[in-house]
């Protein structure tokens, strides 16, 4: 039996390696100072999908919602072994909270058609909410298996996984289709040199148009022909707008987001009145003495 596995990934600012100029003086995030990376746990989800492809007859389809340059994570997925990619991009998607995001992704999955599994990383490092996976499962009306470490078995209409719980693990079994959120643990494979050579030419239709934007031979007919050429070589990255994905415009972007940000403060570590204790016998003796006196110790 063959399976189709959808993997949803996100391009995120690298919040784990923050440098001094990552925050502007007004407390907002200076996105330009943060490199855009493949969300770490989404790489774990992709790796899990590719491991399934190694073991079973699996087609791996990677989708992302984001600005046009989010194709970087899609090509990175192709370099690692993905078969097909979808970019969901539209200004109307901007400003989405997790509810609006999960709705948009559900439209993407439904437009794609039949699938057996949906994989997501547990959470993205820019928001750390871990909400989109479970919300997407609900929107698709399929069971969710969260915090998955590994797939033990994929069978006809069933999947068995090992997942983390508080203080231990569980083995769960679910019918298909199902959604899995994947936690860090497996070791994402490196990009494959042969695949880089092939897929570095993979393009969305907008990228194709940009590539040829300044050429005097560019016309609609030429682009349509080039698009077909890419499609024939399996180098075309699907690009869907909000309308093409079939999304209701009231349920996406800011309009579809019930949560609003009231304000944002940057974290400034304060204290300032630290008492400096010399690292000497006398200094430490006095410190311990003070803490015993005020009943902090003892």
């Amino acid at each position: 039996m063959s399976y189709t596995v959808l993997v949803f990934v996100k391009q995120v600012p690298d919040t784990q390696n923050i440098t001094g100029d990552a925050m502007k003086p007004d407390g907002t995030v200076n996105r330009a100072a943060l490199p855009a990376i493949f969300n770490p746990e989404d790489l774990n989800a992709l790796e899990l999908a590719l491991e399934l492809k190694d073991r079973y007859d699996v087609k791996v389809v990677v989708g992302t919602m984001g600005p046009p340059n989010a194709t970087a994570v899609l090509r990175a997925s192709l370099y690692r072994g993905a078969d097909e990619c979808i970019l969901l991009t539209d200004r109307a998607f901007a400003g989405a909270d997790t509810l609006a995001t999960s709705y948009a992704l559900s439209c993407c999955a439904q437009k794609y058609g039949k699938f057996d599994l949906v994989l997501c990383g547990r959470q993205a490092i820019d928001g750390d909410t871990a909400q989109v996976g479970p919300q997407l499962a609900e929107k698709l009306h399929i069971p969710q298996l969260a915090y998955v470490q590994d797939v033990l078995e994929l069978g006809e209409n069933k999947i068995k996984v090992k997942r983390t719980i508080e203080g231990g693990y569980e083995v769960l079994e679910s019918p298909l289709p199902a959604l899995l959120t994947v936690i860090e643990g497996n070791c994402p494979r490196p990009m494959n040199a042969h695949r880089i050579m092939k897929y570095k030419r993979a393009r969305t239709r907008s990228e194709l148009a940009n590539d040829h934007a300044n050429a005097n031979y560019t016309d609609a007919e030429f682009l349509a022909e080039e698009t077909e050429n890419l499609r024939a070589k399996n180098l075309l990255i699907h690009e869907w707008s909000a309308e093409e994905s079939g999304a209701d415009k009231d349920r996406i972007g800011l309009a579809g987001s019930p949560t609003k940000v009231k304000n944002i403060q940057s974290v400034i570590l304060t204290g300032g009145d630290a008492k400096s204790v010399p690292p000497t016998d006398a200094g430490i003796h006095d410190l311990i003495h003070e803490l015993i006196e005020d009943h902090t110790l003892g």
């Binding site: 784990q16 923050i18 995030v29 909400q131 989109v132 479970p134 609900e138 974290v267 630290a274």
Partner: protein, 340 residues
Amino acid sequence: MTKKIGNVWVFIEQEGGKIADVSLELVCKGRELADKLGVKTEAVLLGDKLEGCVDTLYSYGCDTVFMAEDKRLEPFTVLPFAKVIMSLIREHKPNILMFGATYKGRELAPRVASEKLAGLTADCTDLKIDDFDDKVNKKSYTDKLMQIRPAFGGNIIATIVNTWDDPQMVTVREGVMKMDEPDTSRKGKLVKVDVELDAADTVIKVIERVRQDKSINLGAAQIIVSGGYGVGSQENFKLIYDLAETLGAEVGASRAAVDAGWIDHDHQVGQTGVTVRPKLYIACGISGSVQHCAGMDDSKKIIAINTDPDAPILSIAHYGIVGDLNQVIPKMIAAFKAKA
């Protein structure tokens, strides 16, 4: 005419009839929010054989306990829990619904919020009632729940408001809300809930389940001695344990020390670990990333030992010792033994 607002609900997480600390912390916070709004604090308790939990919930401040008992609700699986909670929401229309930001809470809350089309804010570290003036959409809201959480890897703190229909849903980090002393004279009302599930709700089967309670409860510790990357090696963590044992403390760690494999994740303090607020926190060889500080900066007293005089941890510490922990810690042990 003023619209009657719903009550404050807390999802009660339990394992084998033992209520999770975070749920009791939320009951106490829920009590405070409900008093401010002039509504009730109500618990949503799901599982099997739960009678023993009910009085505890009253004693921490619940006016009502909605109790759903069914074999199919034990052990926890997400679909039947979501189904029962959804039907309770439809019937009683709570104003606020809180979950602990635990494995279960973070899996269950979004499933429910998605179906209800409610806003959900993850991993809150503070909650307040306030008005909200939405300047963009030119709408004003009164008595809304201010949902305060760190974002962007802990580098910013955002205040978020849910502007759609109730309930306003949040998950809240463990250890950040204060647990008050229980009052066993308090009584409340028990509402037994009929559990209606169909085959589609029970398709996920638990084949095997292995778990043990955490070996350590950092959240409840009065004194914590934490080691970071500056400790240098797993062997050298013995120093941290020695100091902890001398002071009657628990041992914590920074993510760097956990990632290095020197100590188990159960000991990790910070944004991806436990939030603590002991009366004394001793940070040994911890530089003090915002992620770490977010999990311990409410400690009453902080001692930081670091060789780097510019380490960020020194800016939130009450006592800074610039020096080598290999020399400082033995001096502390000796000084305490001489005194105590």
